[in-house]
Symmetry: C2
């Protein structure tokens, strides 16, 4: 998606350790006009997949998922990272190994909001090692529901997550796929078909 | 806002300890059609306040803030609860005492995304003791920016947060104000003017 690639070029900052900072428009400050365009693009890509629910993970996936859900006309569910008083014990849960934060954490979704008949579109801002996305897939499978696909804003294609998840037979569509990036050489995208 | 009150009556569950569970449509599963209506109502209420930015707090405020921001045509910033690698040291930060979780935590916003000339609309799903909202107000004041108002979905008016924050001279508009609630007696709303 050219609009997103241009925005990454203009406002993304490559840090060391393979970190791409896009907090001016994606995951700290959020440009909802860009989100609307990304939502329409996800709808164009997954519009035939009979999506009944969108599943994302807190925190930075929520905004994109909610705006995209307006194009789909379906509810959003977000997986929670910490058990709070408001969640009953009746949940699907799995462990996610975070490379960004260097520790693992538990995610959960109430059983009430994932049903066997659901066709679930997963949405997240980043795909790198695929740990969070694998966690969401596990929750959907625990529910006996179907993964309709995964819509990702930015895929770091030089990290193994995308390959790993596509090998499971899951359709992954990333709006910007980064082939390589460095502070000296800038950001190189994989051309879209 | 009648639409929200009806939804709370239909799908909200009163738990003990003053907890109102609205995770079917507000803060776990999210009904984006309802969010759009709430966003329009916030726009109706705060449309003359020259809002330049919406500030919320992760996680459950983000979806409502993003959908509301479409009505305002301004960017959203969400205060983060944990310091991650992706955030530089150049942040506004304050401590929030959480009653729901029984512990305190730090919230922060990058200095880049709150400027002295900003007129900031705060948006959150709940107002009870007002701790999170006070935290957001503190961040805005650290930036030398102006609080244009606070748009809340559900105010537990029997708890002190709303009174406390209105006494600071801040305009608080809550789309549903709960006067009292109990498992036996149900939910009683304060009538809107």
């Amino acid at each position: 998606m050219k609009l997103l690639e241009e925005r990454i070029r203009q406002e993304g900052v490559v840090k060391d350790n393979d970190v791409l900072k896009v907090d001016r428009f994606l995951n700290h400050q959020m440009d909802v006009n860009l989100f609307m365009e990304m939502g329409k693009e996800f709808k164009r890509l997954f519009g035939n997949e009979k999506v009944s629910r969108i599943l994302t993970i807190e925190a930075s996936g929520i905004g994109i998922a909610c705006v995209a859900a307006q194009s789909f006309g379906v509810p959003v569910v977000f997986a929670k990272k910490n058990k709070t008083k408001n969640i009953s014990g009746d949940v699907y849960t799995t462990q996610v190994e975070s490379f960004t934060h260097g520790k693992s954490y538990e995610i959960m979704v109430s059983r009430e909001f994932l049903k066997p008949q659901d066709r679930v579109l997963l949405i997240d801002d980043f795909l790198a090692n695929g740990a969070a996305l694998m966690g969401l897939i596990t929750l959907v499978r625990q529910a006996g529901a179907t993964v309709a696909g995964a819509g990702i804003c930015i895929e770091k294609a030089f990290q193994p997550g995308g390959k790993r998840i596509r090998e499971l037979g899951i359709r992954v569509e990333s709006l910007a796929r980064i082939e390589s990036m460095s502070q000296e050489g800038g950001i190189k995208f994989i051309d879209m078909p």
